[in-house]
Amino acid sequence: MTTFDAGNATAPRLADLEALYDEHHRQAIGLAYRILADMGEAEEVVQEVFLNAWRTGHQYDPSRGSTRAWVLSMVRNRSIDVLRARRRRPTQPLAEGVDPPDTEDVPARAASNVDAAAARVALNALPPDQKRVIELAYFGGLSHTEIATQLETPIGTVKGRIRLGLDRLRVLMGVPQDALSAL
């Protein structure tokens, strides 16, 4: 994995943007689409994120995390903003049923990254009730209270499932042992 070249970012270069795009666009699009379920909106979000990252790359501190984490964090936050704004607007039912990405146009790619594959396996390996609350929180942008309401489950149960699910996810990913051993 490369890190975003912020050394000369006071004058952004198209090559920097292209490198950033080539390395991270599939995960960025996948994440935005997972949250928004609308390819048009997902592309708008990802375009803005890449342009913003490219414009402000010189402000990015690589010691705070990988470029991938930085980009995906922006994609997730912006997607959740769009999702919440959409929830405040009147619903448009056809968008859900008629406007999915064509599988020929937008094929899902097989995982090309071990970490990504491990993350998917780990999430799918969680017990369904734990996986559900984590997905509603992370991909759905719902609060504890909203999840409890949607699932008609006590809020304490929701919190417990999230904690158990995340603990299990960390173990399955091997995250604490590998990444936190020095801390």
Binding site: I80, D115, A122
Partner: protein, 242 residues
């Protein structure tokens, strides 16, 4: 790197780190965690790793074919606008841009780069913009779903839904309505009253209509002028099942 875990680090904070990664911490829990994480690098890293792991759990996907071109075009336009706002005088003599070595003469079919650049670049930019714009337009306007109306009259009428979400009723070969009449389109959601969706006085017409929900009936009636509720039975209709 600060010495971590810090003295007050407990397993509870690691659980809170997971909740913070999901942005679901609220109230006192949020305040306590933020105060702790401000001096606990281990917790900050856990939040970051949890977020990254969850982000990676989404399957990778390819965007539309022209997405990268549109992105690069936007960036190029921003760079061009910035360059225009702060023009810099070049101190390099023009001949230095020539690709010819001293003493070489340009063959008749070779235009030295310094002469070609202004107009050639402009044409290239227009061509690129044209291709990108046309490609994006074509993609966005692809019909992703069609629903043919059925009826007792000749000709055809189809509800076309495009990728960009726009929807239209496309009538073709339908006999024009009699003098003094027109055709009116209706959207009838399940268990709801008809909603007027547009009129036309021709049998060949395209009517833009609002997005059509699943189970909605799209119908055409013949009316004496535009009305707010149909006064006759539909001549053509279809139930949209998306």
């Amino acid at each position: 790197m600060p010495p971590t875990p810090v003295d007050d680090h407990t397993e509870e904070f690691e659980q809170l780190a997971g909740l913070q990664a999901l942005d679901v911490l609220e109230g006192d829990d949020l305040r306590r965690f933020e105060q702790h994480a401000a001096h606990c690098e281990r917790c900050r890293v856990m939040v970051q790793l949890d977020r990254e792991a969850l982000a990676l759990a989404a399957p990778e996907m390819e965007p539309s074919p022209d997405f990268k071109a549109r992105l690069m075009q936007r960036a190029a336009q921003e760079l061009a606008a910035t360059a225009q706002a702060t023009p810099a005088e070049s101190t390099i003599p023009p001949q230095q841009f020539s690709t010819l070595r001293p003493g070489e003469v340009a063959p008749p079919n070779v235009v030295p780069f310094r002469r070609r650049a202004p107009w050639a670049s402009a044409i290239a930019a227009v061509l690129v913009l044209g291709i990108v714009t046309a490609g994006g337009y074509a993609y966005e306007n692809q019909v992703v779903a069609s629903y043919a109306l059925q009826g007792s009259v000749g000709g055809s009428a189809v509800v076309n839904v495009r990728r960009n979400g726009s929807t239209e009723l496309d009538m073709s070969g339908v006999q024009d309505p009699p003098a003094g009449y027109l055709y009116e389109a209706w959207l009838i959601p399940p268990n709801s009253q008809p909603i007027a969706a547009g009129t036309t006085s021709h049998g060949d017409a395209k009517l833009p209509i609002d997005r059509v929900g699943n189970g909605t009936t799209v119908a055409i009636t013949q009316e004496r002028g535009r009305v707010d509720a149909p006064t006759s039975a539909p001549i053509m209709a279809v139930v949209v099942q998306s």
